[in-house]
């Protein structure tokens, strides 16, 4: 089966909650940008997958109908923070299998201020088992918002296991801000120092606010197609998806002695193995990475789970500058979730947008990774699901 071609990408600028258009208008904006990028009309698209977490049912239709009502199949997708990539996984599967010639994945989120928490309190939380694993390991977990608890605990666990210095985590935020400086789509573009990240309000364990991504509004869209379709529509077929994996939890996610699992380390490893194998490539082939740095600790865990550096060696990887321009790979040239923001349904598709533009070599504002040929995308959601995509 042939690799899907990335025909078009597009995203809106990301903003703080309350500073954007509504979800449906943002969604339509991103879809129009992707269609324009591909030189296509909505009537050229066979089917669409709409990703979002916060909103009523059929929000995807509401957004896409602003662009056109073609009667195509539209499927709304919710897979927590990996929703956007899950939509792309479905679109790619449709194209790979020959079910569709051209498929659209779009994602959007209109978020509220404050830490992520549960919306439905009259029923068991889907992440209850993950929280219980943390509670068996650490005290004082009650009343801590879910995401801060899980990622804060995973960070503490990592530091205990490898003796990692607190500054190592802080440097991830500093790098993210440096990368985002010239990205007009990013929420946070001002540089910060290690001292400022440390001095920001403490959330849980050693996690501070500037080590957490902000609630964000925004939308992004990606169109994939077959090579026959690309030829017929005069589409640049230079960027493809040679490998992609979607994985969910196994027993390793629920080990109180290794809390990297509750935030998706095993899921990432499994999805990455599938993506690398399908692509016939390995971590050593990768030039540029967009990974899921919802918290600083998750960037560090992802370096290792994606095979960019060996387990426990992230501190040296960071010290050596191997995660930025001039190093072995450039990780999150967009500024990542920490600086660009994390409008949940849009995030995975914004990552693909950045990587596609990087591989086209056409980013003009100073963050182009020179000579980038292979891109790697990583997007996970607690609960859980993770997607890893190889672009080339």
């Amino acid at each position: 089966m042939e690799s899907p071609i990335i025909a078009g990408v597009g995203m809106t600028p990301f903003t703080k909650p309350g500073a954007s258009a509504t979800y449906d208008v943002m969604a339509a904006d991103a879809v129009r940008r992707a269609l324009s990028d591909a030189g296509l009309e909505l009537t050229d698209v066979d089917r669409a997958y709409a990703a979002y977490v916060y909103g009523d049912s059929t929000s995807g239709q509401r957004g896409l109908y602003h662009v056109g009502k073609t009667g195509m199949p539209i499927v709304n997708v919710n897979n927590n923070c990996s929703s956007g990539s899950t939509a792309l996984w479905l679109a790619s599967q449709a194209v790979r299998s020959g079910t569709a010639d051209c498929a659209l994945a779009f994602g959007f989120e209109q978020m509220q201020k404050g830490a992520l928490n549960m919306m439905w309190t009259d029923r068991p939380s889907p992440v209850r088992d993950f929280i219980d694993v943390v509670a068996r390991r650490y005290e004082g977990t009650e009343e801590v918002p879910m995401a801060l608890l899980l990622f804060g605990a995973a960070g503490a666990d990592y530091m205990e296991r490898y003796g990692t210095r607190p500054e190592t985590f802080l440097k991830v935020t500093v790098k993210a801000r440096q990368h985002a400086r010239s990205n007009a789509n990013a929420v946070f573009r001002d540089p910060v120092t290690v001292e400022q990240v440390l001095a920001s309000p403490r959330l849980f364990k050693s996690l501070t606010r500037l080590q957490a991504c902000p609630p964000t509004n925004g939308a992004a869209a990606v169109i994939v197609c077959t090579s026959d379709f690309a030829r017929a529509h005069d589409i640049d077929s230079g960027t493809r998806i040679p490998g992609q994996g979607l994985a969910t939890d196994t027993a390793v996610s629920f080990d109180p002695d290794d809390l990297s699992g509750v935030v998706g380390y095993g899921v990432t490893e499994q999805a990455a193995a599938a993506a690398y194998e399908q692509a016939g490539l390995g971590p050593g082939d990768v030039d540029v990475v967009e990974l899921h740095d919802c918290f600083t600790v998750n960037e560090i865990l992802a370096y290792e789970a994606l095979g960019l550096t060996a387990p426990g060696t992230s501190e040296k990887f960071i010290e050596d500058g191997d995660n930025t321009y001039g190093g072995r790979v450039v990780v999150n040239p967009s500024g990542g979730l920490l600086s660009k923001g994390h409008p949940i349904g849009a995030t995975g598709l914004a990552q693909i947008t950045e990587l596609t533009q990087q591989l086209r070599g056409a980013i003009a504002d100073g963050r182009q990774v020179e000579g980038a040929r292979i891109g790697l995308q990583h997007n996970i959601g607690v609960g859980g699901a993770g997607v890893v995509t190889v672009l080339g």
């Binding site: 049912s57 059929t58 239709q61 509401r62 109908y65 009502k69 009667g71 199949p73 539209i74 499927v75």
Partner: protein, 134 residues
């Protein structure tokens, strides 16, 4: 053309069957009135003949084309995301001859239809039609 009618046409075409081949139907009767419209959208009768089809008894158990032998959404209830899968399960049981008291004799072609949402105007946001055979 309403989404429900389009989905039905796509499903009939892909399956290579016509409405007259269908032995048993499970459909989205969230409200009693819509069942009449769905008869027409699914081609079980001509446009405007839905009420007459109902009154004829053809869509009751023992009729020509029993609709919702399970009791539909109106009786078993409508846990939204579960209903579409429940109808597939009920049609599968009909085709396997395992539907017990509500078995349609020798059912060989079944149809399951589910609809969702109203976004803009009066049409549904999504319509799904499955044709099942044995």
């Amino acid at each position: 053309m309403p989404a429900g009618q389009r989905a039905a046409q796509l499903a009939y075409e892909q399956a290579g069957v016509s409405p007259s081949d269908v032995d048993v139907v499970e459909l989205h009767d969230a409200f009693a009135s819509e069942e009449i419209v769905h008869y027409e959208d699914l081609g079980l009768c001509e446009r405007g003949e839905g009420v007459a089809l109902l009154r004829s008894g053809a869509t009751s158990l023992g009729g020509r084309i029993p609709v919702n032998p399970s009791g539909g959404l109106l009786s078993p209830g409508h846990p939204l995301a579960a209903s579409g899968v429940r109808t597939i399960a009920d049609i599968t049981n009909q085709l396997r001859g395992r539907a017990g008291d509500v078995q349609v004799p020798d059912a060989r072609v079944g149809l399951a239809q589910m609809l969702g949402g109203v976004v803009n105007g009066m049409d549904v946001a999504a319509a799904s039609v499955h044709v099942l055979t044995r």
